[in-house]
């Protein structure tokens, strides 16, 4: 075991995760604007260029960015790993990924093959420069807790999904989209959503829910086996999807059942939590559990309907289940990071975490977000409400950005004005 694993300079500088967190809502706003400008009929086709561009503004631009920021922050705490040259890596990979998403949206929208090529290169390169050092750092961990195992598995699914994604985007450069692309696109999306994001969320929840809410712990069977069972299910699903597509629903049912079991476990644990506080993050966890249950059942059921409702299911799972967890997490992590880094620099009279964000705005933000997701689902049947849902989504993301910039402004102001005795001379670099 590496003794230096836990050193004072082990946590990444505050700028590393924050640059990813603060950028994320901008991509969600971009997605909202694109939805607003699009024709509803094109959005309801999964393979339309608009759908692909908007989906990736959310999945890479919002979800991907938040997860990368969170991983940087969590890996040192959860696994004691130090990521090699984290400051430099995050600085450059952030720029590369921002450009990658912008190029992808632009390239697809305006059918610019060369821009699509650049997007593919930037996105693959940007993700891998972050994910590979993380995976390498995890190799040295001796105490492999269920959470660390889940993160490790999720990173492997992430890397495969990203490479497949790069290959698919490359197809828009060469202009050859074949039947193989469609099969591969299925594996790309299912492994990214369930393998990368789903398994990551499960692993982190094992640790975070019992600890932060003083809730009952997850059962040892759940902690030890669920990740293996889901991973095996995803591998079997990919095999069936390629060779025996008529039986793929068996693997889907398998994967869904365990996600469903997990979602209900989260719900029960939150009900039995000892902490009385019920803030917006608890609502987000609950919203997420509900969408997770509905989403997975709908996903299986959709197999019997010839995948007719795949767009709605993507909205339920991506927009309802995953997005809500990410937003809820931002409300906790950003104010905490600001408090933690200021306190470690010796500033004692700083606002508490709750004072850094505006509670009323976070409630409004939650309601608007929820309305927009429900609106997006129903706009499939009533296209007229798409515009209102998009507007609601845009406003909710603007409010989210406001609420996470607010703590960062507290940080900047404190550093600039040095309100109390400056103890930076005794600074423990955090």
């Amino acid at each position: 075991m590496e003794l230096a694993g836990l050193s004072t300079d082990q946590a990444p500088p505050i700028s590393a995760p924050l640059r990813f967190f603060l950028t994320a809502p901008f991509f969600a706003i971009l997605a909202g604007i694109l939805i607003l400008l699009s024709d509803s009929s094109t959005l309801f086709s999964r393979y339309s260029i608009e759908s692909i561009a908007i989906t990736h503004a959310i999945t890479i631009g919002f979800l991907g960015f938040v997860m990368l920021g969170a991983l940087m922050q969590m890996l040192p705490v959860l696994a004691g790993v130090k990521i090699y040259k984290i400051k430099t890596i995050t600085l450059y990979s952030h720029i590369i990924l921002v450009l990658g998403v912008v190029f992808m949206v632009y390239g697809l929208y305006f059918s610019e093959p060369f821009i699509n090529l650049l997007a593919a290169i930037f996105l693959v390169f940007g993700f891998l420069t972050l994910l590979i050092p993380m995976l390498v750092a995890l190799k040295d961990v001796n105490n492999f807790s269920p959470t660390v195992k889940a993160i490790n598995t999720s990173l492997i699914f992430a890397i495969i999904s990203i490479l497949i994604g790069g290959y698919l985007l490359f197809g828009y450069f060469t202009g050859t989209i074949t039947h193989i692309h469609l099969i591969v696109a299925d594996i790309h999306s299912v492994w990214a959503i369930f393998g990368f994001v789903g398994i990551l969320i499960i692993g982190v929840a094992f640790q975070v829910i019992p600890m932060f809410y003083v809730a009952p712990r997850f059962k040892p069977f759940c902690k030890r086996r669920v990740v293996h069972i889901i991973s095996a299910g995803l591998l079997v699903w990919a095999f069936l999807n390629i060779f025996f597509p008529e039986y793929e629903y068996i693997a889907k049912t398998w994967v869904s059942l365990f996600f469903f079991a997990f979602a209900s476990a989260v719900w029960v644990k939150l009900n039995n939590r000892r902490r009385p506080t019920s803030d917006v993050t608890v609502w987000y966890w609950r919203t997420s559990s509900i969408f997770m249950c509905i989403g997975f059942f709908a996903w299986v059921f959709n197999s019997y309907l010839d995948d007719a409702y795949i767009v709605i299911i993507s909205v339920i799972i991506g927009g309802g289940f995953i997005l809500s967890i990410m937003i809820g997490m931002l409300y906790k992590i950003v104010p905490f990071l600001v408090w933690f880094h200021l306190n470690a620099k010796g500033y004692m009279s700083i606002p508490t975490m709750n004072e850094m964000t505006n509670k009323k705005i976070s409630i409004a933000q939650f309601i608007l977000y929820l309305l927009s997701v429900v609106g997006f689902i129903f706009s499939y049947f009533y296209p007229a409400i798409l515009v209102y849902s998009a507007l609601s989504f845009i406003i909710s993301m603007v409010l989210l950005e406001y609420n996470i910039i607010k703590p960062v402004l507290v940080y900047i102001k404190t550093i600039k004005t040095k309100p109390d005795f400056d103890m930076s001379a005794f600074d423990m670099k955090v």
């Binding site: 003794l3 694993g5 836990l6 705490v77 696994a79 105490n143 000892r274 709750n354």
Partner: protein, 146 residues
């Protein structure tokens, strides 16, 4: 007898239970929460001292690492002591917002601190101090808080 890791991890959970009770009582009335808040602070202080005066000291002596993980943990103990003082201030000012704002910050600080200890430091300590594990647990158990 429990190992160093088991003993201190269980003590974390005891402190968590007290933390939850403190919030529970404070949620109804801040004034009635004074006693349970003090109980939580005392239990945490005892835990910090068991580490700082016994386990960390033994670990540092054995490994020669005084500026490594234990220094970071001591620093975080100081951060938490600061927040605990603010809890008492909030009760005296009868300021519920300040109280729950502080418990929120304290909870995250506490839990990420506990994670680092439970995942890494205690495991390291158990490896390096396994021969003296019983003696160290005994010393922590019978320690009188200063």
């Amino acid at each position: 007898m429990s190992t160093i890791k088991e003993y201190l991890t269980n003590d974390h959970r005891n402190c968590d239970e007290l933390f939850a009770s403190m919030e529970e009582v404070a949620n109804t009335s801040l004034q009635t929460a004074k006693e349970v808040t003090q109980k939580f602070i005392d239990a945490s202080e005892r835990h910090f001292q068991m580490e700082e005066r016994v386990m960390f000291a033994e670990f540092e002596q054995k490994t020669g690492m005084t500026q490594g993980p234990t220094a970071m943990m001591r620093h975080e103990h100081e951060q938490m002591r600061g927040l605990m003082k603010q809890l008492i201030d909030a009760i005296e000012e009868d300021n519920k917002d300040k109280f729950f704002g502080t418990t929120e910050t304290l909870m995250i600080l506490l839990q990420q601190h506990n994670m680092k200890e439970e995942q890494m430091l205690y495991t390291m300590a158990q490896q390096h101090l396994s021969a003296e594990s019983n003696r160290i647990v005994d010393m922590m158990d019978s320690m009188i808080v200063e």
